[in-house]
Symmetry: C2
Subunit: 508 residues, 2 copies
Amino acid sequence: MKHALPVTRAQDFAAWYQAVIAEADLAEESGVRGCMVIRPWGYGIWERIQKLMDARIKAAGVENCYFPLFIPLSFFEKEADHVDGFAKEMAVVTHHRLVGDGKGKLIPDPESKLEEPLVVRPTSETVIGQAMSRWVQSWRDLPLLTNQWANVVRWEMRTRMFLRTSEFLWQEGHTAHADRDDAMRETMRALEMYRDFSENALAMPVVAGEKPENERFPGAVATYSIEAMMQDGKALQAGTSHYLGTGFAEAAGIKYQDQEGGQQLCHTTSWGVSTRMIGGVIMVHGDDDGLRCPPQIAPHQVVIVPMLRDNDEDAAVIAYCEELAKALGERDAFREPVRVLFDKKPTKAATKRWGWVKKGAPIIVEVGGRDVAGGNVSVLRRDRLYNEAGKTNSAILPRDAFVAEASAMLADIEANLHAEAKARLDGNIRRDVTNRDGLAAAFAGDKPGWVEVEWAKPTGDALDKVVEWLKGHKLTLRNVPLDAAPATGACIFTGGAAVERVLVGRSY
Amino acid sequence: MKHALPVTRAQDFAAWYQAVIAEADLAEESGVRGCMVIRPWGYGIWERIQKLMDARIKAAGVENCYFPLFIPLSFFEKEADHVDGFAKEMAVVTHHRLVGDGKGKLIPDPESKLEEPLVVRPTSETVIGQAMSRWVQSWRDLPLLTNQWANVVRWEMRTRMFLRTSEFLWQEGHTAHADRDDAMRETMRALEMYRDFSENALAMPVVAGEKPENERFPGAVATYSIEAMMQDGKALQAGTSHYLGTGFAEAAGIKYQDQEGGQQLCHTTSWGVSTRMIGGVIMVHGDDDGLRCPPQIAPHQVVIVPMLRDNDEDAAVIAYCEELAKALGERDAFREPVRVLFDKKPTKAATKRWGWVKKGAPIIVEVGGRDVAGGNVSVLRRDRLYNEAGKTNSAILPRDAFVAEASAMLADIEANLHAEAKARLDGNIRRDVTNRDGLAAAFAGDKPGWVEVEWAKPTGDALDKVVEWLKGHKLTLRNVPLDAAPATGACIFTGGAAVERVLVGRSY
């Protein structure tokens, strides 16, 4: 069977991923090292993610702010663990002016050298901590719940669009609390918000759990993640939530007067998701014809393509499409108006159809003269593109019935995408491996999926040894699932008594 | 009469402006040179501006994208006029890693020096031009209409919150067209969008017109602006729209094949508004008690403050407020649900009231035990804070009547703010000055307002002389209003025949 993409998942998953991004007009290389251009369809998906996530963030009482792009070097020197984790990959601003070099080129003006270099934020704990130290005075100011939507930069040697780029877009929540319990509650609330968002907005099932010590955010006391399984069986960390203890509060001086008049350090948290989520959506829902965009984050949920023949019938087809778009736009799906596009571009209908298939518009409606005459529409569901005979699965439906059904159809597509991904995730986690050889064998020959094993939760050097052995097999520890069964046997790595179950897998 | 701010407009307008920003919790200094922290109330206003402007941008068929933060130096070298205009004020990234200096400090790692320095975007014409050169191939691809919401950096020596900061937030529209006419249509469409937005969303009357040659955007063929009059009579340029001709297209190679098969250069435009608009809103609508936030951009339109007495009545007051908030939230104002906040913070009611007065919440509702008993609410309109006796103008209204009226009240507040500002603008533009001495005299003693004069539209050296004379009097040319009367007399500067009328004023 012929497909719309030049390469299939089975042939070369990495090349397929790049092909989806190119053919669906999601993003492209910018000519600036490590930075991508996010094109309208890709950015439209990000706008949808922002809108739905922002509503959840605001509903939790968190307020959006904006903090500086630049962070003075000295801010980083205060939090030693944190800077160690990031020190190797930051963009540094050293000059504030350009001048001509007298040979037609521009150079940084040596006279404009900054006394203190500025770092382009890789994350904003340090600069937000400074602000919090001003805003928090008394127990009445707590909890302080802030978030920002922003670009951040982490200099990356090997980049991959959406998954790992030097500049990326994200939201970063930062909160300060009176005590550990309240901060942990917020850490887990954010984690659950991400889990729920991923499952119920992106149709992307995930495993929520705690990262092992070696995978913690620099400076954090505990890091939690959601991990999604891509179609090649690898894991993608799609969101993180950190309990930071009092370390950042101590470095920045975030203190409050408690109800008895004493001075206390705050306990802080941070949590974030980024444009990386779009990479996850592609690798979870894409197929050999391109992206399949979950309806809740599709910039257009229904695209209407007119079949024009440059004859007298065209005016009637166009009028019929306009009416259809209007009728659909008056309907709600997922408690918002249905997002409809009537695609009037001067391009052939077949080209448009396949363009929208590759972009993953959930429903593509084609309207020709015969449909107008019969009061019908030809409906193509992106989640059921082909019938059993391998032909595109267009269904002719009465127009009114389709308008009445469109919301339910979108909900059904969303549910289908989730069910398919959920079956893949559940079907590809093994829990029967009890020794290291078995673990290595489970991944031999690029077998897809993860293995959940019992372990003793080693720390320090003992953990380093485990990580090194895993690295030798191209494996990583993903997280300790919150809902994992209790451990009952021996640690697969150390042979000691196991205390919990941890997920092992290949990763992005 | 005592006011909520420590300084009045009449006493010291500049100090008053800073006081509003501080007391309304809009923004604050960040500790990072030239960069501000935008606090929740200020950022909430920006979110409202984004939402309402973005809807207008999308309605015009413009698609949002995202382009890199960093621009290689070489991109700037291609467009000579453009780089001359910006070369003096850019943040330059020269290194991509930090290392310890062995003495506990961090320094840029000399080994990480970039071969080609990167500029933090001051605006994105050059990098977007590169993308457009890939996206535009044929006349079918035109017009290409893009926009991005982003942060930009222009190194500023003297900064002022919202008005001139090194980093600021904005949207920048960038479009490519087949010919001059289509590009000019887009330039004027964007200008009209800004004019309409400013008048009808911000309640901020403006004069739309063309900037004189010396005020053009670097590299532009024509620059248009909207100019708003602040309460001190100075002008604030609140938005610009540029027709860029074919200069940027030539530098970036944005070409298309026309319908006859020939190669043509595109004509491009760009247009933008920024967080500067918030500075304008403050200086147009603020009073000696703080900000008066136009209802359409107020993060909360109605704030409910409970009067609690730590006694048995409190539960009933709280329940009454919850009900009231729910009933108001079910109403629409300006075709969106009314934004209501029930302020439950553990602070005294009087403190809260004045906090919301300073922030400029359009309607503040106070509810005490007596209101609950009588089925009433105490309503304070921010645009009519005091009665004729100089007392706060709280009105006791039946609860149901208030709920039914709230939308109309918000619309009335918006209209009042606009009318007040419009009367000020119209009443402070003189058109009767016919010579230079008269012009200087019109501004003597810091008289507020602008003067519209006839001029010969000099260019080059002749214009430079005019600009220099004006500078000597701390005056600037603002714009040539689109709706100005035709010129009939002599140029006020050169004595030659005048060709149009231009606005002169002090400016921010």
